[in-house]
Amino acid sequence: MALPARISLLVVAFLAVVAIGAFVVLHYLLYNPAVEDYAAGVTPNTGAVVHVVLQEDPQNTVSTHPDWVSYFIQNPQTKAWVHTTLFKVPAGSRIDMTIYGFDGCTPLRNPVWGQVTGTIGGVEYVNGKPMSQINSWSGCNVGHTFSIPGINLNVPMATPSNPNANLCGTSPCSPATTAKNLYKVMTFSFNTPHATGTYFWQCRVPCGGGFVTGFGGPMQTLGFMTGNMEVVS
């Protein structure tokens, strides 16, 4: 091979290696989902009410892992559903949270997480009905939880009334076009701390099917079943 060709080949190979390295760093190591900003325009530490809306789906057809269960967050301005689990809320405020539960049931491995804790009044409202606990071992009635350990918040997510019906199959699911018996609406309120900080949240149902003890994959990946609530002022 001629010298110019050899040099060209070497340069191309070098650039390819650099490009692969850069792709790995940017795509896997530095990638974070979008942050939905519910703090914009809200004065912190005034007890202002902020309405945060999420949904949990049996799949995530807008990602590279379509068979992973997933949460979505509604953009506060556009109302569009965003494939992320990161959101920002103001400090010292009251969060009124609505979560649409489209996924089916998986019993809690530790049923103690069927207890509602950390909410105002110690209850969540499932389709408007107040509940302080749900026994996930007594029937097909809990799909996930929404838990923020840093503020002792734990809310079990109820499952659709008809467990044998076909669940929503395309993410993000739409409450407007889905039959009422194919999802549940959970509402609850909690107060954010006055101190700023980042509080991780997670699901306590080991719903990472196909992984050891169900706690791999979506359970350990931002944008699916765990995320951050950033409290700002």
Binding site: P107, N110, Q115, S138, P149, T213, F215
Partner: protein, 313 residues
């Protein structure tokens, strides 16, 4: 060096000072000072403190080992300094030192002292495991060293990424709060329902692995009220760094009030829990079998996961 002295001749014959005494005296003085300082000044502040029997025994162990190690380290430093000062190369002295063919007294002393230190450490370590009932370490499901009398049983259930605590002698309620009494033996039963964790109650000097399917027992007796920092000490996943909580040690009467009150408060939640057991198999939970089979989940027959899922390593 006295290059003209005959090889192997005694030091006195060369008119040299008694180096042994000149090293021994400053070593002795410095060692006594260091040991007193370690025991009296530094010792009470050594980790993990003295909040419990196991913590106290660990602090005592560290004090004893530090007191034993200090003279050894000081001997090395004194000898090093002495050699630098006394046996340094001097201007115009280019001769070789005397040839040395061994010294029976030095060798015998070296072997004897080393043996005594190692054997003493062996005996001391064994006694210090037996006397404080395992010294706060997990002893497995069949502990060798148990305290006498009735102990308060507290089950530590590790799960990603939270510890929960179950009190079987109070109706088996489970809570995220760790509250313990002063003056009573506590019997921890440490287990996990997912991956490997480690229960580390720092101020209590208790550290026990939390393995799925394993009941790891550890004992301690708390002597002072205060805050207990609990951390997971085994890398266990994405939020391992956030797997900590703060417990508290309270008086026996305050604990009794808290436990009985919590038992009543959590009665409805306790009804949802499986019967108390020393382990909870994460791959098979018989109590939920009926619900799972009805929902068409898992592998049936109580298997939590379908047979296609990977097994617990």
């Amino acid at each position: 060096m006295a290059a003209d002295a005959p090889a192997g001749a005694p030091a006195g014959a060369r008119g040299e000072p008694n180096h042994g005494i000149r090293i021994f005296i400053p070593w002795l003085i410095l060692s006594v000072i260091a040991d007193v300082l370690i025991w009296v000044v530094w010792g009470p502040h050594l980790p993990p403190g003295d909040m419990s029997s196991s913590a106290s025994s660990q602090q005592f162990d560290i004090k004893v080992l530090a007191v034993a190690a200090a003279p050894v380290a000081i001997f090395v430093w004194v000898y090093f300094a002495y050699a630098l000062i006394v046996w340094r190369h001097r201007e115009g002295d280019d001769g070789d030192g005397p040839a040395i063919h061994g010294n029976t007294r030095v060798q015998a002393t070296w072997i004897t002292v080393s043996s005594v230190i190692v054997l003493a450490a062996f005996v001391f370590g064994t006694v210090q495991l037996v006397v404080p009932q395992g010294a706060g370490a997990g002893e497995g499901a069949q502990p060798i060293w148990k305290p006498s009398g009735n102990a308060l049983q507290v089950q530590v259930i590790a799960q990603q990424w939270k510890f929960t605590y179950r009190y079987p002698q109070f109706g088996g309620f489970q809570t995220t709060d760790l509250v313990l009494p002063v003056g009573q033996w506590v019997e921890f039963h440490v287990t996990s329902i997912d991956v490997i964790h480690s229960f580390w109650a720092y101020q209590l000097g208790v550290k026990a692995d939390a393995n799925p399917g394993v009941d790891n027992v550890a004992y301690t007796k708390i002597s002072n009220t205060g805050t207990i920092t609990v951390r997971c000490d085994e890398l266990c996943g994405l939020w391992h760094g956030a797997m900590y909580n703060f417990g508290k040690a309270v008086s026996l009467s305050a604990f009794d009030t808290w436990a009985k009150g919590t038992e009543v408060k959590l009665a409805s939640v306790t009804k949802m829990l499986p019967p108390y057991a020393t382990t909870y198999d994460p791959t098979m939970v018989a109590q939920m079998s009926k619900a799972m089979v009805a929902a068409g989940l898992g592998g049936g027959a109580g298997l939590y996961y379908p047979p296609t899922d990977p097994l617990q390593p």
